[in-house]
């Protein structure tokens, strides 16, 4: 029997758009810009399109929050090599900081959100500092423990509102600001991080993931690089947490919930790890899906898991990786 093998060839236009020649014709510019425009335009139009369905406009906010946490997970796991299950910690810390600043200290909303992201980022980095020497699953376990720890501390000591949480946070002036603020934050983080991982410091981070021993031999303090990366990830995580607290006008124990640690990982798995934008695409699929499945009541978690398993089995590389390949290359069967 004649054996056949699939051969992948770069499209001519992909080769032409690699360098400066990308700007030589409109077609080539569009080849590069179109996927980005689709994403940006799509996100900006989403609240307008969904004007007729107010409930879904609120889903957008949650979707963006999950997408941001998923980006932070993807960044740490696939570019620095730290598998961090502390999404719940970032959201909780950010939310509580924002609640303290806004509800107790009366700092206006548009200052309390960035300020609590900054303070929360520093706080989380300090928490992670002792365990940065850990690798792989050991780091994951420690980071998974932190949100559980904080829940118990707040419960047991009855501080920061105890089990009731802190209420009375300022809400956003109107729903448009609510929508567009988080969409803009998401887009800035998305394109900012994509830029960062290709800058020199981003390359050093990727080198730490590949082989930290030879980074040490190159005269770079690996712990310092890791702590910068953790600060960036926890900063954006806390930013989304602060936003969420203001969206609910309440900061409570559920901000530390494991959902914020687990769902972003599922989103990265579905969307495709190591591309950053995959995290956003994954959230775009999973968050609305989980809303749709509310019709099924308690049965929803079964269907949800089933879909996840199907994704893992059929397209384990992730949708975004698959689509990127299809966009840049074509395939043909050749004889071996």
């Amino acid at each position: 029997m004649q054996n056949k093998r699939r051969e992948r060839i770069d499209r001519g236009i992909k080769v032409r758009t690699d360098g400066l020649y990308a700007i030589s014709s409109f077609k080539e510019i569009m080849y590069l810009v179109f996927p980005r425009l689709l994403l940006i335009g799509g996100f900006l139009l989403l609240p307008i399109v969904l004007e007729l369905a107010p409930y879904w406009k609120r889903v957008i906010n949650i979707l963006c929050v999950y997408a941001i946490i998923a980006i932070s997970f993807d960044f740490l796991a696939n570019f620095v090599g730290l598998v961090c299950l502390g999404g719940g910690l970032f959201v909780g810390v950010g939310g509580y900081f924002s609640a303290i600043l806004n509800s107790y200290l009366k700092i206006p909303i548009f200052f309390s959100i960035p300020l609590s992201a900054l303070l929360g980022g520093i706080f989380c980095t300090l928490l992670f500092l002792p365990c940065l020497k850990l690798r792989g699953v050991y780091f994951a376990i420690v980071t998974l423990m932190y949100p559980l720890l904080f829940t118990r501390i707040i419960e047991a000591l009855n501080i920061l509102g105890g089990t009731n949480g802190i209420t009375g946070l300022d809400s956003f002036p109107n729903q448009h600001i609510e929508n567009y603020l988080i969409i803009l934050i998401l887009l800035i983080i998305l394109f900012g991080l994509r830029r960062l991982v290709n800058e020199d410091i981003g390359l050093v981070m990727r080198a730490v993931k590949d082989n930290d021993q030879s980074v040490k031999a190159s005269g770079i303090n690996v712990t310092y690089i890791k702590s910068i990366a953790v600060f960036i990830a926890s900063f954006i995580g806390c930013l989304s947490g602060a936003y969420l607290a203001h969206l609910y006008m309440w900061a409570g124990l559920s901000l530390f919930s494991l959902d914020f640690s687990i769902l972003p990982i599922a989103a990265v798995t579905v969307g495709g790890g190591g591309s950053i934008v995959g995290a956003v695409v994954g959230s775009l699929i999973l968050v609305p899906l989980s809303e749709f499945l509310r019709f099924f009541g308690t049965f929803r978690i079964v269907i949800y898991s089933l879909i996840l398993v199907l994704f893992l089995v059929l397209k384990s590389e992730g949708i975004m990786i698959y689509l990127t390949r299809k966009y840049h290359q074509f395939e043909r069967w050749v004889d071996v």
Binding site: D200, L203, V204, A207, D210, A217, S218, G219, I220, N221
Partner: protein, 252 residues
């Protein structure tokens, strides 16, 4: 003048003494060879000097300064770098981007990489320059290919290139000739001569004695973590204890 002085270095793993009171000196600008059968503690010696392992006792002086127990990156910043026996490139990055890491370090941003380039953020060009010097053809696609697809010969060179990018004073080469063909080694030898002329001190751990003979000024032999001979290559090779270590003793 001795650039590196090692005094009574001892390292044990549990009950096993991997290094037992090893002392030697390396002069500035020379090529110093370390030979010994498998398991004699050559790589452990490198790991101890460059800070990757903590020593049990003994001292290491670099230009008269005690560097024992410093973390590896601090020792690297002083100008002591190393290659790894099992190559450790950054597989997800293109070959020339591998050199961005040492070029980004404090030492290279202050002094510049090899021959002073890369101070002003022009790291990509400097990286390709270094790769060309070390045998990557500039006009070919090789420097731009991901490290994961490069053959062993190139990866060994990449290890050395990563050291050069840090503008080192001392390079520990952990078996850079192993796994290379004769012609590939012949390509590396002039490079080592060139480094010697530029005043870089090289400490080479080798199994390939014939090739080491061509470049080494002095050689030290280790067995079971102990120094058994030191001196000119010929003297060491003819030393009865070295012969015994490699070939076994005569009276069985």
């Amino acid at each position: 003048m001795s650039i590196l002085v090692v005094e009574n270095l001892t390292k044990s793993f549990g009950g096993l003494k991997a290094l037992n009171a090893v002392s030697f000196e390396v002069k500035e600008g020379e090529v110093f060879g370390i030979i010994g059968p498998n398991g004699s503690g050559k790589t452990t010696l490198i790991n101890c000097i460059t800070g990757f392992l903590k020593v049990n006792s003994g001292k290491v002086f670099y230009r008269g300064k005690d560097i024992t127990g410093l973390p590896p990156h601090k020792i690297a910043l002083m100008g002591i770098t190393r290659t790894f026996q099992i190559m450790r490139p950054y597989y997800s990055l293109p070959a020339f981007k591998n050199l961005i890491v040492p070029l980004w370090s404090k030492r290279a941003t202050k002094l510049g990489g090899w021959r002073g380039g890369g101070k002003h953020g022009d790291r990509d060009t400097v990286a390709v320059d270094i790769l060309e010097e070390i045998g990557f053809e500039r006009d070919s696609k090789v420097p731009y290919k991901p490290a994961s697809v490069l053959p062993t010969g190139y990866l060994k060179r990449l290890e050395l290139a990563r050291c050069l990018a840090l503008r080192p004073d001392v390079i520990f080469c952990d078996e850079i000739f192993s796994g290379l063909s004769v012609s590939e080694i012949a390509g590396l030898l002039p490079l080592i001569e060139k480094l010697k002329i530029e005043g870089v001190t090289l400490i080479m751990v080798e199994h390939r004695l014939k090739e080491l003979f061509k470049v080494a000024d002095r050689v030290m032999a280790l067995q079971f973590g102990e120094k058994i001979a030191e001196g000119d290559y010929k003297d060491v090779i003819e030393h009865p204890k070295v012969k015994e270590a490699y070939l076994g003793s005569e009276e069985v």
